[in-house]
């Protein structure tokens, strides 16, 4: 069955003028989507996925960004040369878009209703009352409770998931031919993610719209798309049907992406990683964009660009490996020896697993204040009596949705927050109720790595100062020379070079900053580390590097981790035991095998079933 595609992108080139030079953010990208079908674009951040989307809806930030060539055909008509007035008639009407950040994508000072009716009135010429009826209807379609009341609500009263439903209602209110969903669930909890993706699918079927799904999550792609384009460095490097791609990935980048996703089957081994990070668009290599990071790189790869060509029924890849002509030339000599198998087991021997941290009935209540004199009228029970033990050299994962109290619990355990009740015993000593002076020696033993590597480092301090600060405060007996020696040893351990000490955090990539965060913690010789979503903000290949680093320092120093996360694939890979938290309480505890193979609590079951999985790999 051949259908005319709703949207056809041909040789699209979107460039940016930057102070560093011309950035070829999207370079010669072609694809098409048929009515009712979904094409997913995957790749790490900085690969040009979002710029591709913005180019289609004609919202490239100007004047820096511009479309340098190519066509975007909507129902056979190229929309790039159209005037702004014509383009506005297409936006929100024929092509609409939902964004990654539901929390900030709605106007905070306008009601939900007025934000939906706006597009309806504009494009369908309906009267206010007709638009209102239509908007309430849309609110019902996206399954928001009490649509009539919701119409008059302001966005701040809604949770992230509900706001994303509103965004979907806005986007689909004019029954567009193409819906672009740019990381629609990345900022949401895993249970909400499943609901939102199902909702999009269902409404897509109803109005038979084409969907361009942009995501970095391969498992989301597997469940929700028919075709996949893998993007790297502003180009599509591989394009195939979803089943084909996951069964038989051809491009080395795709292969690596699939391999660095943590999961149960990779337990006990180091994760496969991609060295380095995606370069900025101004520094893309001359030849194959993946050269420099590729494990199959050949002599000619850095200079000769491979074309995206079809290898077998609809499966196309842009790699010289599949070009017989290229492979016969001397250019095809491999540059690097193929990577040998990764060093095997990293698990700590089980014999001396004594308890390092014992938490009994830990509580943390936030006071709720009311009235003229702000008297405490009640408490918000963020952590409501949790008990757990963590053994030396092992990892306990604390999982749950955002707002369930995971982070508060972690902070209360290491006494960053003073618990309202309960006890925490660290290495045989009760640390709850200690005086500030008494707790000081324990500050270096119990440390925390934060989620956001961008905002948790002081931008005004040099990296060396950031790392040294803890040492100065907690190890006053060390002199400057000893401190500097220690610093360079730790930097080396986390994969940074000593010359980086004199640089500022903004000069580093996300992965490097998280390494700095880890160095900052390691330098004071902790025994127990809380990793609070330590890899959540990172791309999957960088996440693999960081997870490997955490595993190896755990092995080398016999450290214990409390791994706070909402991503269960990380849990099954890295954790020994799991505690599932819901509403301030632990609903289920056990080893990874127990929890994942036979969950008992209904919430755990729900959480596990919501995780998208790739079954063919």
């Amino acid at each position: 069955m051949t259908m005319t595609p709703v949207v056809e992108v041909k040789n699209l080139k979107t460039y940016f003028n930057t102070p560093e030079g011309l950035g070829r953010a999207v370079d010669n990208v072609s694809f098409s989507i048929e009515r009712g079908r979904t094409l997913a674009l995957v790749g790490e951040s900085g690969c040009g996925k979002s710029v591709t989307a913005l180019s289609i809806i004609q919202l490239i930030p100007r004047p820096q960004g511009f479309i340098a060539g190519g066509e975007v055909l909507l129902n056979g008509r190229d929309i790039i040369p159209l005037g702004e007035r014509e383009k506005r008639k297409i936006r929100g009407n024929k092509i609409s878009m939902i964004f990654q950040e539901p929390m900030t994508s709605l106007n905070p000072v306008l009601t939900i209703g007025s934000q939906i009716t706006e597009a309806i009135k504009l494009h369908q010429g309906k009267s206010s009352s007709e638009a209102r009826a239509k908007a309430v209807d849309m609110l019902e379609k996206v399954r928001l409770p009490e649509p009539g009341r919701m119409f008059h609500e302001y966005p701040h009263r809604l949770s992230g998931g509900m706001r994303q439903r509103v965004m979907i209602a806005i986007a689909l209110s004019c029954r567009p031919d193409l819906l672009i969903a740019d990381e629609p669930t990345t900022a949401l909890d895993v249970t909400i993610q499943a609901e939102i993706l199902n909702l999009i699918k269902e409404l897509q079927r109803e109005i038979s719209t084409a969907v361009l799904l942009i995501t970095h999550n391969l498992a989301v792609v597997y469940r929700n798309a028919e075709n996949v384009g893998v993007m790297y460095g502003g180009k599509i490097v591989e394009m195939a049907g979803v089943k084909t791609l996951f069964r038989n990935p051809m491009h080395p980048y795709t292969l690596k992406l699939l391999r660095c996703v943590p999961g149960m089957e990779k337990r006990g081994r180091m994760l496969d990683t991609i060295p380095g990070t995606v370069p900025p668009p101004t520094e893309f290599p001359e030849g194959c964009r993946f050269s420099g990071r590729c494990h199959r790189e050949m002599e000619g790869c850095g200079t000769i660009e491979p074309a995206l060509s079809e290898k077998e029924n609809g499966h196309a890849a842009a790699c010289h490996l599949y070009d017989p002509e290229f492979m016969n030339k001397p250019l095809s000599r491999p540059l690097l020896a193929l990577e040998s198998a990764r060093p095997a087991p990293v698990n700590v021997p089980h014999e001396k697993r004594t308890t390092i941290l014992e938490v009994q009935d830990l509580k943390y209540y936030y006071p709720v204040k009311k009235g003229v004199f702000k008297k405490t009228s009640g408490y918000l029970k963020a952590v409501d009596g949790i008990s757990l033990t963590i053994k030396k050299g092992s990892t306990l994962a604390l999982v749950g949705e955002s707002g369930c109290g995971k982070t508060t619990a972690g902070k209360a355990m290491i006494q960053l927050l003073k618990p309202t009740g309960g006890t925490v015993v660290f290495d045989g000593k009760e640390v709850t109720g200690m005086t500030p002076r008494g707790i000081k020696p324990y500050r270096s033993l119990m440390q925390i790595i934060f989620q956001d590597p961008y905002s948790s480092l002081n931008p005004r301090l040099m990296v060396g100062e950031i790392i040294e600060e803890g040492l100065k405060s907690l190890r006053p007996e060390m002199d400057g020379k000893a401190r500097r020696e220690k610093l360079s040893r730790i930097l080396d351990m986390v994969g940074l070079t000593p010359d980086m000490m004199r640089r500022y955090p903004h000069e580093f990539s996300g992965g490097q900053r998280q390494r700095i965060g880890i160095a900052r913690v390691l330098v004071v010789d902790p025994r127990f580390i809380v990793c609070d979503e330590a890899t959540s903000a990172l791309d999957v290949s960088v996440q693999a590097q960081i997870l490997n680093l955490l595993k190896s320092i755990q092995r080398d120093f016999g450290l214990s981790f409390l791994f706070i996360t909402h991503d269960l694939s990380r849990v099954e890979y890295i954790a020994d035991e799991v505690a599932v938290m819901y509403g301030g309480k632990i609903v289920e505890r056990g080893t990874v095998e127990e929890i994942f193979s036979s969950p008992k609590d209904p919430y755990t079951v729900k959480l596990l079933s919501a995780v998208p999985r790739i079954e063919t790999v």
């Binding site: 809806i57 919202l59 100007r62 004047p63 506005r88 008639k89 297409i90 936006r91 929100g92 009407n93 609409s96 878009m97 964004f99 950040e101 900030t104 994508s105 709605l106 106007n107 905070p108 000072v109 306008l110 706006e118 597009a119 504009l122 494009h123 302001y154 701040h156 965004m167 806005i170 009311k370 009235g371 003229v372 004199f373 702000k374």
Partner: protein, 326 residues
């Protein structure tokens, strides 16, 4: 909301007492009651008896903060600070030290000229600045925007005094479009008010436009603006319907707090344009070492400032649905 306002008013009490304490402390650090008496009675032919008499008459014959001669509570109450401060609580400002004029009457009388200058300056100023700022935001990134900002920086670098004197020279002397200074009552006030208002607005343009433009551009970079564009809205709808109301939130912080101060007038403008308002009243009192007036005006100023802050908080709830006062 009511709870919030009550709490804020209660917080204001220690602040106002503190301000009063500081005013008294500073004033009597520089002056003694004897200095005041001599200055007001005239430097020549003043006998100690006259000085003592003046002090007794005006209530300055007491120690400033602590009276060691008294017992118990009297140590504190029988002092200049206490006896002069307490009546302020019920807005009894008393009489001025120099001419025995009724300060409260004077304030009521001089409030109107101050308002006649300050209110139009304020309203027109906001309108002009906001319009120019939005204009620059509309052409953001172009040469027009760049030069607009350059002009703003130049204008804000020039002292207000220059605008005043320049305005008086050009409009008053060269073009003879308005009187150089002075004031008249009723409808005749208009021709005296125009020049100060124009000068006031022009001197605010530099910093005002630059500030509003920054606020506005920051708002235009937000995600919801992208959403609005993705709906297919026109640029004007995006700028006005979506951008403006959000940009108003930080603008309000800057603006509402100064509304009560419009009564207070501008010290600089009023003394240069000879406007008989509260601003020139204060300046004259400082020059004349009239503690009664200075104290009353500082007291009034702090009350107006606190009122401005409370008003700002209340105005937030009007434009931002996310904020409720508790």
């Amino acid at each position: 909301m009511l709870n919030y306002i009550i709490r804020r008013v209660l917080y204001a009490v220690p602040i106002i007492i503190g301000v009063n304490l500081l005013t008294t402390l500073l004033f009597f650090y520089v002056n003694t009651p004897d200095d005041m008496a001599r200055k007001i009675l005239g430097e020549k032919n003043v006998t100690p008896a006259l000085v003592e008499g003046w002090k007794k008459e005006h209530g300055y014959d007491l120690p400033v903060f602590v009276n060691p001669a008294q017992n118990g509570i009297g140590k504190v109450t029988r002092t200049i600070f206490f006896s002069k401060s307490v009546p302020l609580a019920w807005l009894d400002f008393g009489k001025s030290d120099r001419n025995n004029i009724d300060i409260a009457y004077e304030i009521k009388d001089r409030m109107w000229p101050s308002l006649a200058v300050a209110l139009p300056t304020f309203a027109i100023g906001i309108l002009v600045n906001l319009t120019l700022a939005m204009g620059l935001a509309f052409v953001r990134g172009t040469y027009l925007d760049l030069w607009g900002v350059v002009v703003c920086v130049i204008m804000m670098s020039v002292s207000t005094l220059f605008y005043i004197i320049g305005g008086q020279y050009i409009f008053g002397k060269l073009l003879v479009l308005s009187p150089i200074s002075g004031y008249d009552t009723g409808g005749y006030a208009a021709k005296f008010v125009i020049l100060p208002v124009v000068v006031g607005v022009i001197s605010s343009v530099g910093s005002g436009v630059r500030f509003y433009r920054t606020v506005y551009l920051e708002e235009l970079g937000k995600d919801y603006i992208r959403t609005a564009r993705a709906k297919g809205l026109s640029e004007t709808a995006v700028l006005f319907r979506h951008g403006l109301k959000n940009a108003m939130i930080p603008v309000l912080t800057n603006v509402v707090v100064s509304i009560p101060f419009l009564f207070y007038g501008s010290l600089l403008m009023e003394s240069f344009f000879s406007i008989p308002g509260l601003g020139s009243f204060t300046i004259d009192a400082i020059n004349a070492q009239d503690f009664a007036i200075v104290r009353a005006m500082v007291y009034l100023g702090s009350i107006l400032y606190i009122a401005g802050l409370i008003l700002t908080d209340i105005s937030y709830t009007l434009v931002d649905p996310r904020i409720t006062l508790e």
